[in-house]
Amino acid sequence: MELGPIWRAILRNKSSYALIALQIAVTMAIMVNAIAIIQERATQMARPSGTDEDNIITLTSVAFVPDADMRTMIDEDLALLRGMPGVRDAIATNSFPLRSGGWSMSLSTEPGPNSDGIGTAIYFSDEHAIETFGTNLVAGENFAADEITWNNREVSTWPATGILTRALAEELFPEETGSLVGKTVFINENDPVKIVGIVDRLQAPWNGWERVENSMLVPSRRDGEFQRYVIRTEPGMRDEMIPRIEAALAANKDRIIENVRSMTEVRERSYTGDSAMITMLTFIVSLLTVITGLGIVGLASFSVSRRTRQIGVRRALGATRPEIMRYFMIENFLISSVGIITGGILAVALNIYMVQEFALTPLAWYVVPIAMVILWLVGQAAVAGPARRASGISPSIATRSI
C-alpha cells in the first residue's frame, strides 16, 4: 500500500483537494441529518393507530333539515349499518384516529383547577366502539348499553365512566404497579370519571401531537348535525362495501354523505406532509450525492489528465494496471475520508443543534456510519472510471517529449 506517499502528495496539493473534501463534508452533514429526519418521519408514519385500518371506512353525515331529529336519525343509521351483510360493527363518533381534528381535554388524578392535567383526545361513542375500532380491551370491561347517554353543546355534564388507552392510564398513574381499573380521574377540573376499562392502543386524531397515544372513550353520543360514522367491515370487504354503504345512507334525503374514505386513505391524508417531506429530502440528498459524485469524477479526470506522464513513468517503473487503478482509488479514499470525517463531526454538531432547537430525535448511532459507507462507496464508484482510464495509459508516454 502506498498510503504514506499518496497522503504526503495530497498534503503538498492541499488547495486542489480542499474544495472536493469540503463538498463531501457538506453532503455528509446534510445527508446524515436528512436521513435522521426521514427516519423520524418514517417511524411516526409506521406507528399503528390502534384500529383495524384495513377494514375500516369513515364518513361524515351532515343533516341540513332544520330541527331534524338527530337522535332518531343516528339510531336508524347505526341500525342500518350494523345490519348490513359485510359490516362487522359501526359507531357514530365525534372523531377517530388520524382524522386531524377532534376534541381534547385534560385529565388529572386530583380535582381542582390547580392540579397538573394530562392531555387526552376524547372519543364520544357507545359500547360498539371497541369492536368497531378493532382495538383490544386489555383490562376492565366495555361500556354497558344502558349507560350510554346523549349530549350536546348545551349539556356540560360528563359521563361518570371512561375507557382509557394504556399510555394515558400509565401517564396518569406512573407510580402505580397494580391494575388501574377502578381508579378515578377528574375531567373539566372537578368531574370524576371512573376508569372502567383500558385498551391497548387507540391514537388521538392528531398524528403530530406529542401525546398522540392518549385517548379516552366516553359512553356518550353527541346529537349534532355533523356526525362521523366509523364502520368496520368483515375482513377483505372494505372496498366493495364503500359504495353500498354510501348508497344505503344516501337514501335518507335529509342529509348529505361526504368524505367517504377508507382508513388507509385517512392515513395517507394524515401523513401527506410527512410523505412530501420524505420525498423532498430523499430527492435533495440524492441530488447532492450525485453532484458530489460528479465532482469527484471531474477532479479525478482532471487529476489523471494532469498526471498522464507521471502515470506513464510509474508504469515504466513497474506499476501494473491494477496498481495504477489502486493508486487513484486510495487517493480518492483519503480525500473522501477527510471530507467524510469532517462531515461526520459537522453532522453530529448540526444534529445536536436541531435536537435542541427543533426537538428532532437524536441521531441513531448507526446513521453516521451508514452515511460514511455510502459516501465512501459513491467516491470509489465515481473515481473508478477515471482510474480505469489512468490504468490504460501506456508506459511509453514516459519517453515521449511533451
Binding site: P5, V313, L317, G318, R321, S394, P395, T399
Partner: protein, 232 residues
C-alpha cells in the same frame, strides 16, 4: 542478454501506416555499454521503448535473458520492467509531488520490498549518486544534474541488470553531462548492461559499442565510422 531479430514496429492510423522499425536486429551481451545514435525520427526511441517493454513490437522476436517477451502479459511485462530494467529519461521524470526519498521508493514499492529493505536500498543508491543528504528535498529544489542523479538512483535502487538511458544528458549542461556520463561508466564497470540512446556522438564514444540507426534499421556503416571520426 538482449536479442532482437527482425523486429518491426508499425504505427497505424486510419489513413497512415508508419514503419518506425524495420527488420531491426541487435544482440547485446551482458555487461556491455552500447550507445544508439541516429538522426531524429530514425527509430531510436521506438527501439528503446520496445527494448524496455514500454511498447509491443509488431513482428519479429525479442528475447531478454532468454525469455520471449512477446509471450508475456501486461502484468508479467510490468514485473520484468520493475525487476530487470532501470530507466533513465531525458527529462528525468521525477514525480514532482514526492520528495527524493519517495521518488526513489516508487519502483521498490511495486517490487514489494519491506520498508527496512527499501530504506536501505534508497540510502545506498542516493549515496552512490552523491545525494544522500537530500532525502527530504523536493525535485524542484534540485538542479537538473541533481535531478538526473536522483533518477539514476531510482533506476539503480532495484539493482537491475539492464539500464536503458534515453538521452540522459539531453537537458544538462556540459559539466553536468560529463558528471552523469562518468556515473554511467562507473555503473557499467560494476557489470550492469547499459543501452544509451543519444544524438551526441561525443557522448556515444564513452560507450563500448555504437549502434547507428537509420530509417528504423541498424545501419551497417556510419555508426562506428562516425565514432571513429569523432574520436580521431
Amino acid at each position: 542478454m538482449l536479442q532482437m531479430n527482425n523486429v518491426s514496429k508499425i504505427y497505424r492510423t486510419d489513413t497512415v501506416e508508419t514503419h518506425a522499425l524495420r527488420e531491426f536486429s541487435l544482440k547485446v551481451e551482458e555487461g556491455e555499454f552500447v550507445s544508439v545514435t541516429g538522426p531524429s525520427g530514425s527509430g531510436k526511441t521506438t527501439f528503446l521503448n520496445i527494448a524496455g517493454l514500454l511498447e509491443d513490437l509488431s513482428s519479429g522476436t525479442y528475447e531478454l535473458d532468454g525469455r520471449d517477451i512477446s509471450k508475456l502479459n501486461d502484468r508479467e511485462r510490468s514485473k520484468v520492467r520493475n525487476e530487470k530494467i532501470g530507466f533513465i529519461f531525458q527529462s528525468f521524470n521525477l514525480i514532482p509531488e514526492l520528495n527524493i526519498f519517495d521518488n526513489v521508493d516508487v519502483p521498490l514499492r511495486y517490487r514489494g520490498f519491506k520498508a527496512p529493505e527499501r530504506r536501505k536500498r534508497i540510502e545506498e543508491s542516493l549515496e552512490l549518486v552523491g545525494l544522500a543528504s537530500r532525502l527530504e528535498h523536493m525535485p524542484a529544489q534540485l538542479s537538473g544534474g541533481q535531478q538526473q542523479r536522483v533518477a539514476i538512483a531510482r533506476a539503480l535502487a532495484g539493482e537491475p541488470r539492464f539500464l536503458l538511458a534515453d538521452e540522459p544528458t539531453g537537458n544538462l549542461d556540459t559539466n553536468m553531462a560529463d558528471s552523469v556520463m562518468d556515473l554511467l561508466g562507473e555503473i557499467n564497470s560494476t557489470g550492469t548492461t547499459i543501452i544509451m540512446v543519444t544524438h551526441e556522438l561525443t557522448l556515444a564514444t564513452r560507450a563500448n559499442r555504437n549502434i547507428f540507426v537509420r530509417d528504423g534499421s541498424v545501419s551497417d556503416g556510419p555508426g562506428d565510422l562516425q565514432l571513429a571520426a569523432v574520436a580521431g
